[in-house]
């Protein structure tokens, strides 16, 4: 039995790499913003830590347990958000959301384009966007945990 092309599209090397070796996978004790996210459907849990200084995200860290898609998404997000302004982060969120829900093929997303395969798996959109929803909650200083349900 060989790996189906659609599956290979979903589980690209870069996604597998980030899921097995997540970047910035640590708590930040001096975080200015933090939030928890969870996906009750699959039990994924994520704690996100941000250091924001004068509207610019200086550092990002996260902890948690999740599937390959959600872990890779959080890992790549943590790299991309560094040195972005809060507004830029919101713009990337929207573009990313549109990408995984199949609304657009945004050229500006760079490395994040590997998540385009998610659009063929509607049930996995929540996995891909969990970290991003949690990031928005952290920036808006929401107290309660974010849920994708």
């Amino acid at each position: 039995m060989s790996v189906d092309p659609a599956l290979r599209e979903l589980y690209q090397e870069v996604i597998l790499d980030h899921s097995k070796n997540p970047r910035n996978f640590h708590e930040i004790t001096e975080a200015t913003h933090s939030a928890k996210g969870e996906n009750p459907l699959c039990g994924d849990r994520l704690s996100l830590y941000l250091v924001v200084d004068e509207g610019v995200i200086r550092d990002v860290g996260f902890r948690g347990a999740g599937c390959a898609i959600s872990t890779a998404s959080a890992s790549m997000m943590s790299e991309i958000l560094k040195e972005k302004t809060e507004e830029e982060a919101q713009t990337i969120f929207s573009a990313f959301h549109d990408l995984v829900t199949g609304k657009t093929e945004d050229e500006t997303l760079g490395k994040l384009a590997v998540f385009a395969g998610v659009r063929d798996y509607p049930v996995r959109v929540k996995c891909a966007t969990l970290a991003w929803h949690t990031m928005r909650a952290a920036l808006s200083r929401k107290e309660e945990a974010v849920s994708t349900e």
Partner: protein
Amino acid sequence: MSEVAMRSVRGAFDVERVRADFPALRQSVKGKPLVYLDSAASAQKPRQVIDAVSAFYSHDYSNIHRGVHELSERATRAFENARLKVQRFVRAASEREIIFVRGTTEGINLVAQTWGRVNVAEGDEVLITHMEHHSNIVPWQMLCGEKKAHLKVVPIDDRGDLDMDALRRLLGPRTKILAMAHVSNALGTINPVREVVELAHERGIPVLIDGAQAAPHLRVDVQSLGCDFYTLSAHKMFGPSGVGVLYGREALLEKMPPYQGGGDMISSVSFEKTTYNRLPFRFEAGTPNIAGVVGLAATIDYLDTIGLEAVGAYEEELLDYGTAALKELPGLRLIGEARHKASVLSFVVEGVHAHDVGTILDQEGIAVRTGHHCAQPVMDRFGVPATARASLALYNNRDDIDRLVAGLRLVREVFA
């Protein structure tokens, strides 16, 4: 004589003939023949049940218990005949003990909200087990919250068996009711219900059994089990969704206050006073799922002609085959290896989240459930966020298991 009856007379369980009864199994998913291994979530329906529901809607449908016209009489007869069928199916003493509800969850809520609200007071205890489905946790939690009572939990061991010594210790003077699954949905454990009921009854404690996962696999006999309440869902036993049964011992039901108010549960109403109807109608407010109940009756006929004893023996053999096959896969850990098990293969693949396992199997046309199976405390007990669960039913065969194993090899390949 029908095909199914012939089959039963011959005495052999012929899985290929059974498979032919289920239209949903004859389809391809993602370009591959469907392997349906998610029956513990909800089971597929045989054409005998689909046809019965269709025939009922086509010829006999009407509201029940009120009309004086022919169709209403036919519908009422079909509905009440179904009640007699259920009574015989679970071996209840009287049809007054059979209450139609939406499903197992509603059955448990009914008992918690009626029997529970009258009999549980501040400082009392409700006893459940660590392997319960959320629907046999939350209704009791709600009741305990309202009454300032305590929810106590019987632990389970690493194999997924109930800790009977702990259960004996936890049955105390303040225990008001014990609620427990007959078969665990997440682990497949078959609990020693009769023994537990004896222990509880020695102390005068009533027992509710969540039979959702047992009814499709085992012969249920509420009198032999001795339980006070037993509840099940039609959709798990190859019948329609949105309908289920609560069995309750008549002596207990008689003393329970009504559940929901409305038509069918009353004898007479004035603005000053309402007189409630007799059992079982007292607990059946509003127009029920009439066609669903008719479908449930057809389901019982179907299971009776095949014979649940034959089903049980066949499934046990298939479960053994599946257990052995999965154990040979490197990096796979079975969750739940109780001494007595039914129909469930719950597992984790090392280094791969259950959700990813589910997606890759789906790509191969294999339907399994992934997640916490509405049993989060069970996941916590075994230290996993989620499992993949392949659940078997009477229409699964060895080929389904072989396809699952091949799919799991593919999972390793993708994540290698």
